[in-house]
Amino acid sequence: MCLFIPAIIRGLSLPVSFSLHSELLPTLITYLEAIREALAKALNDDPRVYIYGQDVGFFGGAFKATKGLSQRFPGRVIDSPISEDAMVGSAIGASIQGMRPIIEMQFADFSTVGFNQIVNQAATMFWRTGVACPITIRLPCGGTSGSGPFHSQSLEGIYSQYPGLVVLTPATVEDAYSMLLAAVECDDPVIFCEHKYLYYHLKADGLPNEALPIGKARITRAGRDATVVTYSAMLHECLAAAEELAGEGWEIEVIDLRSVKPLDTDTVLASVARTGRVLAVGEAWPWGGVTAEVLARIASEGFNLLDAPPMRLNAKDTPVPFHPNLWGTHRPTAKTIADALRSLLRL
């Protein structure tokens, strides 16, 4: 698999200009602000881009990802009716007519209502007709405390099963920015899984001038005793677990997949070749999904690299619970990841 470096990023020889929003930018920039900056830049640089979704206009979206954009880009940040099917369908039409629509789902969970258009119309368009369908669908994903079964879902493993879709899961402020720009520039339909927990919690010093291409994983922390493969908000739990184990003398390598479809098998296998042990961690449900795919690839393509059985850790096989006590136990945390790593290292 060769790699995709979007021109929109490649072109950035000068430092990224934040003039659009500079007066709003604090010293530290959050994951959510990075998304807003990327949206502003995409709208600014490419007249084909528009944003469509519930309350994205004057109001700036349920999470304020589009705050101020409708004022800056009149007519290009548009409130939709509560019609996820039609939202996606219209984006498909606009995209084959030369536009670059960005659809905001109010929560990832509501994308199930637009599911048919995503998986049957957008995903198949290029293969059936040879005409590309460059749409970006932003899904505010993942659990936050008190959000319950219908505002917490992680659907990357569902969408990744469908040929034709690209599924991105940025875990850092920098990636939220550069990968969203790459998504908009990508000629294929991209499911952009933003993690809501990171929106306000995660901050960085600034935005990147360079970016890894779509489809390339990153070794976020180097180590030699075991590899943890993860993505999205779980990256930070895994890093905390690695830090905890560092205190016990273990060096854990942590891989951030960044993109789950395509999935960077090479980087994963190269790491497992070094460590011999691997744990895949995801926030989604246990059956199938990213961690199953990671383990299946490692087992079939990297079997001889393994010194111990590969392990995985996922959420429990129930809907995502509302109460913080339950929620905190439902998904993997630094603590349960550290425990799993200790078992793995003992194997």
Partner: protein, 340 residues
């Protein structure tokens, strides 16, 4: 004192209108005050998750809840605290769910407005708008299969939810099956921040009724008397075999979409219009002007309500939170099928 357990429905249908009005008003008042309590707990950081209030919609909501009887089914939405109480939901279900108590009907698994007791005809909404209407249809189909005639089902939606495919499929399904469904759409002018001009283009939402072949009704959602009469009639029509009834009630959302939202986008013009009236105040004036109760009585109702709310909140606060170690992590009724 108003019960925190289900209110008994009047045995005689021909009960005096002023009596119905007073009962309805007391549920509205209880709902309003209970919600204000939740809002203040929210502001104090004592609530996990969102808080969604029905301020300005209590009249239409209570009229729906009060028109239903045992064996009927109700699918409330996020602004239906008044209707829930009138239908028989205990105030404790409200407080326990918001507080995520293990002893609440959702046992901490789901929160706030999602509570319900399907066995008692109170459906637990999922968030996806429009999705509950066909569930009500199914219950009504089951009633027909089981020979349980004369029962009806009511579902609430906001005007924004009329844009969903789920609303459309379900209303059409009810029409084809001629089900005793009362679909109450509260047009409160906004769907979150989205004004009606961005949500639909018909002159009046009631114009949709003919396109489904169902009866359509409109009502001033700020006027409790009108709401009681109109919903009462619609429910009777449905009960009598008249098929689905589409009710459009006009009002204004007098609060934010949720308590996190200051609703700065609501037009001042709308606030000044008759639809911007507070239905609770309107009902209160009516009671006083008709001498259905005097100020002293109103004050005592107010105190009684506050008392009940305090009790329910105090009780719920003392209830244990769910314990993840004790939690039954099993999504299957056939537990042997769980891989958990």
């Amino acid at each position: 004192m108003l019960p925190t357990t289900p209110v008994p429905h009047p045995t005689s249908k021909a009960s005096d209108f002023s009596e119905t009005f007073r009962r309805a008003y007391r549920w509205m008042l209880l709902a309003r005050l209970a919600e204000e309590k939740m809002a203040s707990l929210y502001r104090a950081g004592k609530i996990t998750g969102g808080v969604f209030l029905g301020k300005g919609q209590e009249a239409i909501s209570v009229a729906t809840g009060i028109a239903l009887r045992d064996g009927d089914v109700f699918a409330p939405l996020i602004r239906d605290q008044a209707g829930r109480l009138a239908f028989g939901e205990s105030l404790l279900d409200f407080t326990l769910t918001y507080m995520g108590a293990r002893s609440g009907p959702m046992r901490g698994r789901d929160g706030n407005v999602h509570r319900g007791r399907p066995r008692e005809g109170m459906l637990p909404m999922i968030s996806h708008l429009g999705a509950m209407v066909s569930v009500v249809n199914g219950i009504l189909m089951a009633n027909r299969f089981q020979g349980r005639l004369g029962s009806v089902g009511a579902a609430s939606l906001g005007e924004g939810a009329t844009s969903t495919g789920a609303f459309h499929e379900a209303l059409n399904q009810a029409a084809v099956e001629k089900l005793p469904l009362i679909l109450v759409i509260t047009n409160n002018q906004y769907s979150y921040s989205t004004p009606n001009s961005r949500q639909f283009a018909c002159a009046d939402l009631v114009d949709k009724a003919a396109g489904y072949g169902v009866s359509g009704h409109t009502v001033d959602g700020t006027d409790l008397a009108d709401c009681l009469k109109l919903i009462g009639n619609a429910v009777e029509c449905a009960r009598a075999g008249g098929g689905p009834q589409l009710v459009i009630a006009t009002s204004l959302r007098l609060v934010g979409h949720g308590e996190h939202d200051d609703s700065h986008y609501v037009s001042a013009h709308l606030r000044e219009m008759p639809l911007g009236r507070d239905c609770l105040t309107v009902a209160e004036s009516r009671i006083l002007s008709e001498s259905w109760a005097d100020k002293v009585t109103l004050d005592s109702w107010h105190r009684d309500s506050l008392h009940q709310i305090e009790e329910a909140v105090a009780y719920s606060t003392r209830e244990a939170a769910p314990d993840p170690a004790q939690e039954d992590w099993c999504a299957y009724s056939s537990r042997q099928l769980s891989e958990g």
